[in-house]
Amino acid sequence: MHKLWKNWPEVFIQNYLQKSNCYFFLMIIGLATVLFFMAVLAVSTGAVTITGQEIQTVIIRKIRLLLGQNITETAILNKAYEHIIWDIRLPRVLLGGLAGAGLAIAGVAMQAVAKNSLADPYILGISSGASTGAALVMVGGLFERWSYYGTSISAFCGALFATALVFLLSQRSGRMDRVRLILSGTAISILFSSTTSLLLYMAKSKEQMQRVVFWLMGSLGGAQWEVLPIAFIVVLVAVLFLLANARELNAMVFGEETAMILGVDSNTLRKHIVLLVAAIAGTIVSVCGMIGFVGFVIPHMVRLLVGSDHRKVIPISCLVGAIFLIECDILARSIIQPEELPIGIITALCGAPFFICILYKSDYSFGGQ
């Protein structure tokens, strides 16, 4: 860490500007550009079409206001546009990006920890746990009083509880068994999703029930500026932690014992990662509901592009996940205008055929090129 701080230009050059890494570096720049334009497109698409020029004006004006500068120019845009851009669409796009990146790296991390390409927060029941936690708050009525924090914390606890159960069940004579992991994940997933259904069934009002149902199918509709900081911090911490341990993750997917003989304390690392994934799942599920398939498909897609080295898989997964979810949200909002489809349906409808395609390619070997 200290060394990195002192020699960062050198480290940067070694990391990214060498010939062998050129491809990776260009890919990062390319994806970042795509992400930027996708975000602009997402802000401008909707019932009211907004031009890039207008978006720019509003954002610059708002930033100046935030910085305490006086706005000398007369307001050219009407208030309604400003409201749509700044209060509705922008937070929604940012949340989409964060959720996509978060879910994608949660998938990467779970697959590495479980040493199983099937693992992802949804398949292992972690998200179901989060949904039960959140539904308890929503149906239980605490929702109004505690705002997003109540749901987030409850969802996080649910996620953590489900994770703990899955990992305890997957142990056989002190070691994690890969097949047992998937089996216990499936069982826990069913247990929690039926608990959520039960809670739904017991919901008092029809309106309450509808809200929970819509939320269960996933939506970025709940995006507001105040939910963004938690999501941002959780995703940022997760990305930095995983990047710092990328080398160790490589050893871990190769095998538990391999990791240990290469000096990696895989037990501790696994616990940290599980906590982190529960935090990501809890935060994202409490705000956006159940958005399936992102954490499962994106890591595979990325491995297909850059191989299994986590130093490349993690940053690329973040970008691809963010792009994918923002794009799905554009579709969700525009297919049956002015109505809105739950985004979970779109991610699954886009993700599943794609995954079937890469499975059909017989030589796909989860990371092989």
Partner: protein
Amino acid sequence: MAIRTEQVSVTLGNSKIVSQVSIQINKGEFVGLIGPNGSGKSTFLKALYNVLKSEGDIFINGRSSKAVSLKELAKEVAVLIQENSAEFDFKVEEVVLMGRTPYKELFESDNNADKDIVKAALEKVNMLSFAKRSFIKLSGGEKQRVLIARALAQQAEIMILDEPTNHLDVRHQLQLVDIIRSLKLTIFSALHDLNIAAIYCDRIYVLNHGSIVADGKVNDVLTTELLRDVFGIDAIIHPKNNSKVYIEYIRAI
């Protein structure tokens, strides 16, 4: 003394798999560990490289291994085991680079020195031309050679191997042990092929039911009585030069 153990025992669940094993391995020696299936070879080795908890004392280069972190241990002992990533694929050079893990701090990247070490390691096992190939598509013998290169990249003086020649055909078995021998490291290897052990080892420890039942030079250890009592086979021992032997198997008892 590279490796020394005092009364090492390992208990898994309720059964004692290894009981009170004491061994000594000098720097530069090639020492074999033989014994029938289930005799506790792998378990004992796992205790040696700190993957399993054990009772008793283990000293690596004079330091108690229990006082050393996994990371420090990985700089002194490289291990070759039978464990392959079944689902995630890496390039050969990426696999070998993993050997540099114990030397790296958080966020630290690979520098040119690491790349040179990887290149040299691959050259030693004759796999340099495979550097960009996919690891899981290699044959068994090629994989083992890559894993040896990874162990070499750890720049440890001691190498512990758990049945490195498993599943290999005769030619690749001999080739692999030749490579291991040529590394001039301290080698402690579990071997299932007695004749390979007889050809390459300076000394042999024989493990049966978790205890050492014989140790010493090849021709002192591999006797018809031992093969009958420990391995349950009838065999004829043909003496060769340099206290080596050749074992002709007759039948199982």
